[in-house]
Symmetry: D2
């Protein structure tokens, strides 16, 4: 059920996902989040804020921004990985700077690599609306893992 990255580098895999050759991962499909750009060290995901993302307060749940950032922060690091090599997330920090509501509509989350070493990597990302207004930003710390079971993120 989950896509296989075997034989593909991270960037090749993400490009095929953008081209629609792979199903998006279930969590991203559920939340309406989509990988739209991928190059070496940088990715962009988009999503449209809907009422289904709301907490009880009439704004998007903090988990919406956290999920969008987690995908972007991890994938931008994996654009630099050859076949068989992958980074996984150890920790994630998210700052919520403005409420996300349906009126905001489509948001972009762009993430870029900050550091890639032999065993660890870090990245940073921001969620902005169509006019570039900032709603959330975050950073992550990742660690390298050996590919197992032929499965791969995002």
């Amino acid at each position: 059920m989950t896509p296989i990255r075997h034989g593909l580098s991270g960037l090749e895999y993400f490009k095929k996902m953008i081209a629609g050759e792979f199903e998006p991962p279930p969590m991203l499909a559920l939340l309406g989040m989509k990988l739209v750009e991928a190059e070496e060290g940088r990715v962009v995901f988009t999503a449209t804020v809907e009422e289904k993302h709301y907490n009880g307060m009439g704004v998007a749940h903090g988990g919406f921004a956290a999920t969008l950032l987690d995908s972007s922060l991890g994938c931008c690091i994996n654009t630099l990985m050859p076949a068989g090599k992958r980074f996984t997330t150890l920790e994630l920090k998210v700052n919520l700077t403005r409420p996300l509501t349906k009126e905001v509509g489509l948001v972009r989350c762009e993430a870029t690599v900050v550091h890639v070493g032999g065993r660890t990597a870090t990245s940073e990302g921001r969620i902005v609306d169509s006019r570039g207004k900032l709603y959330a930003h975050g950073t992550t710390t990742c660690i390298i893992v050996e590919e197992r079971r032929g499965k791969l993120e995002p």
Copy 2:
């Protein structure tokens, strides 16, 4: 559509939510997350890891743990708030210590208050399985807000 907390303290509101008197917030309903315990300074949410929560790697997306922690960390602070007073999340840090899979099944996320001051508050929480094994933990920083539009979290 979103529940109204007007006239209720945070704890009264959460107790009514546990009793089923309010609809759960849309994002939590979507992800199958449920408030099950609330007392002064402490709450517990539960969720069952399902394939719908997966990333492309065959484990739950980091956003699953982040959403569960964000709900718990914010609500445990709001159990201490009287009617008309509420804290909102400024930032959230999540550590992912073990992969969450369907085999793990039901998880609990317990959060407790660390600091509550006049304007800011912090809390910490952990996601564990039925045997107490740790999968993720996190902390949050919240700021007080005036209630607006009669709407309220989680």
Copy 3:
């Protein structure tokens, strides 16, 4: 003993500190850290890694990077504050990406504002050597405070 910012905006104050009109704060003097550039939304501190900064492992203590980042992250926000208005730090996250040793010598920590709202602000910063190699990076969340006792950071 501590410098007074009364009557000065954040930026005016920092410019006078760079010009040597104010004593540097005691902690920065103790650790050999120095504000060298300040403009709207951006500052640079420098320091030279010495053996006095070491932990027992033969590299600079994580507190060295944390102190340098904390100064930079807070001050870059305060460059945007008029007289009588100041932000203080609620939380700080620091990533240590490479060991800092005497051999690294002089490092620069540049920080820039990410978000400034009415009550909260965030910023990000990086510690690099003379060739731009990255050693640490971080982000902070600040909250506005009323000036008291005529005292002011960094």
Copy 4:
């Protein structure tokens, strides 16, 4: 100049440091921070807030709490390590909940392990005064390293 841990487990080493058999690391000596308790998975450092720790605002610099927490958070994990095995810090998050001043005097920073796996570990810690009042708290993410050059933290 720096103490050697060769042949000693983390806990043995820390116990000898408490007993005064090793010089404290330079940065801790400079800031007046001292390891006073160590057992499996838990350490306590103490320090007395002095004017030398101040920023320009008349309170202890955020780097004071960050350094005390960084030492404690790393060492509590290393109490669980046998000879030749050591964890180093990847990232650190610090919440500053109350200002630290000379009037606070002696503070304790107690840290405990949250997770220890084969490659990564996390811990949490709090800075409190003699009456248990909270001033700062934090968490860290560490990664295992091979001992090199016979040197070791804190």
